[in-house]
């Protein structure tokens, strides 16, 4: 269980990106973070990945305040968080296989296990036949699917995605969202930030609406 408890984030320069945001992320949930540009969607994801730290308030994972976690423990924490980016952040000079294998290499798995898991992940995103291709030889949608395969291959306890369909047309966007949905159905907890309300509304999940650093509606039906 992951909980943001009255989290305030001030960026350097004093800009208040989040103000006393409280949010529970339950295991197995699929959460869409929506809101206008600058609402604080990416900031929440960056906090969950410990790329940024809360200025005030607590970020609790299983009761532990990871917001104050020492820097040397961050790598181990991040290995439990899969990340998907709008620009997918694949390594351009490596084939799809190597890109997907990277989290497993970092985790120190053996070669056999890596091959098995990478093939399974590529199979799940429908790219088993493209494992030798470098990202540039793949379409935008395929690149993003490689990105998703990389994010799930190490079986993270949380997957975060920041505008994963930002570069894709409507049809491809829906297809990518359905890929996320399928992973969520097998138990991966997800937080996806998107400004595309129409797209998000076509996928069943919890919708959390942000506005100027505050939660308007946390989608739990309680507010």
């Amino acid at each position: 269980m992951i909980r943001l408890d009255k989290v305030t984030k001030l960026y350097r320069g004093g800009h208040e990106a989040l103000r006393e945001v409280s949010l529970d992320i339950n295991p197995g949930e699929l959460i869409f973070l929506t809101g206008h540009s600058g609402a604080g969607k990416s900031t929440i994801l960056k906090l969950l990945a410990l790329i940024e730290r809360p200025t005030r308030g607590q970020l609790l994972v299983d009761g532990r305040n990871v917001g104050r976690m020492p820097a040397r423990e961050i790598p181990a924490y991040r290995r439990q968080v899969g990340m998907v980016f709008q620009d997918h952040k694949l390594l351009d000079d490596r084939p799809a296989f190597d890109n997907v294998a990277l989290p497993l290499i970092i985790a120190g798995l053996g070669r056999r296990e890596i091959e098995k898991r990478v093939r399974a992940a590529l199979d799940q995103v429908g790219l088993l036949d493209k494992e030798r291709q470098v990202p540039l030889a793949l379409s935008a949608g395929e690149q993003q699917r490689v990105g998703i395969a990389r994010a799930v291959v190490a079986r993270p306890r949380l997957l975060i995605a920041d505008e994963p369909t930002g570069n894709l047309d409507a049809a491809l966007s829906l297809e990518i969202m359905q890929v996320f949905r399928r992973f969520n159905e097998v138990g991966v907890t997800m937080v996806i930030a998107t400004h595309d309300l129409a797209l998000a509304s076509r996928i069943s999940g919890r919708h959390v609406a942000l506005d100027h650093g505050r939660i308007l509606d946390d989608g739990s039906g309680r507010s």
Binding site: Y77, R78, L91
Partner: protein, 304 residues
């Protein structure tokens, strides 16, 4: 433990593979390192060889102690024994006045003149051979000490040229040390700069790896291995260059040594040189990598 080792070995070989994929750049870096290491090592070998040669000119370091005329043979033997007890001295040979005369008398150039004399004009003489490791300073002190003895008339020792040679070799030796330190520093900078560029080129990979939970040690490791390989390959190249240079010098040096009647053992690359060059290469390669990594790697944090 064994698993960790094979892991490390695999990583090391993987970085070697990475180097082999950019053969030209790798060769240039390794070439510069090799030359930088070969230079001081080669000069060092030459100077060591020179010292060996100087030390092996034993008969040139022999000196004669002429006793005062009229010193008895018993006294001469006593003196010979006492000088022989010195630690700088290898051997003392007594040439008795009579046998010196006989030797000279056999020479047609002197024979006539000597036979005209009533008495033997030659004194007893001691020919002293110092130990090879005795320094010119020690020989000088020895000369002064022997010259002060009442029975001794004259000590003939020409250490001037030996002192000069030793002084020149000492200057060279120091110079080589300084050059070696500077060149090793140069190797550290070369490796450091090469790896700094490598880090810049791999910025994206480093950022992504950190996002995916790579530790600093994980990100650092391949660069340290690259430094290690640069150092090792540079060291091997330096040894190869040394070997070729010595092969080319072997003939002329042998002839030079023969001219001086020195027993010339040759200038092989000994185990010490081998380990020294490889050790210096690996150490400076790793040091350069470490410098680059600690200065430039921590600055790369993922930006999202």
């Amino acid at each position: 433990m064994a698993g960790l080792f094979t892991h490390q070995l695999r990583d090391a070989l993987a970085t070697l593979g990475r180097l082999s994929r950019q053969p030209v750049a790798t060769f240039l870096t390794v070439g510069v390192i090799g030359i930088a290491l070969a230079l001081p090592a080669g000069l060092q070998l030459l100077v060591e060889g020179g010292r060996g040669l100087a030390g092996s000119w034993n008969d040139l370091r022999d000196f004669s102690v002429y006793l005062k005329p009229g010193t008895g043979i018993d006294k001469a033997r006593e003196l010979s024994a006492s000088i022989g007890g010195h630690e700088e001295i290898l051997d003392v040979r007594l040439i008795e006045a009579d046998s010196a005369l006989a030797e000279f008398g056999a020479d047609p150039a002197f024979g006539e003149a000597l036979r005209a004399l009533k008495e033997n004009p030659l004194p007893h003489t001691l020919v002293v051979r110092p130990r090879p490791e005795a320094t010119p300073e020690q020989l000088d002190n020895l000369q002064a000490e022997l010259g002060a003895r009442p029975e001794v008339d004259l000590v003939q020792l020409d250490t001037q040229w030996l002192m000069r040679l030793a002084a020149i070799l000492e200057v060279l030796r120091r110079g080589i040390w300084i050059a070696a330190v500077l060149l090793v520093a140069a190797v550290i900078f070369i490796v450091g700069n090469t790896i700094r560029l490598d880090i810049q080129n791999r910025r994206q990979e480093i950022e992504v790896s950190k996002l995916l939970g790579a530790t600093d040690a994980f990100v650092r490791r391949p660069f340290l291995y690259i430094g290690f390989w640069y150092g090792l390959l540079g060291g091997l190249l330096a040894l190869l260059l040394l070997g070729i240079a010595l092969l080319l010098l072997q003939g002329p040096l042998g002839r030079l040594a023969a001219l001086y009647g020195a027993d010339f053992a040759g200038f092989g690359v000994g185990l010490r040189t081998l380990l020294g060059v490889l050790g210096a290469g690996v150490a400076s390669g790793c040091a350069g990598a470490w410098l680059a990594v600690s200065r430039h790697l921590s600055a790369i944090e993922p930006r999202v």
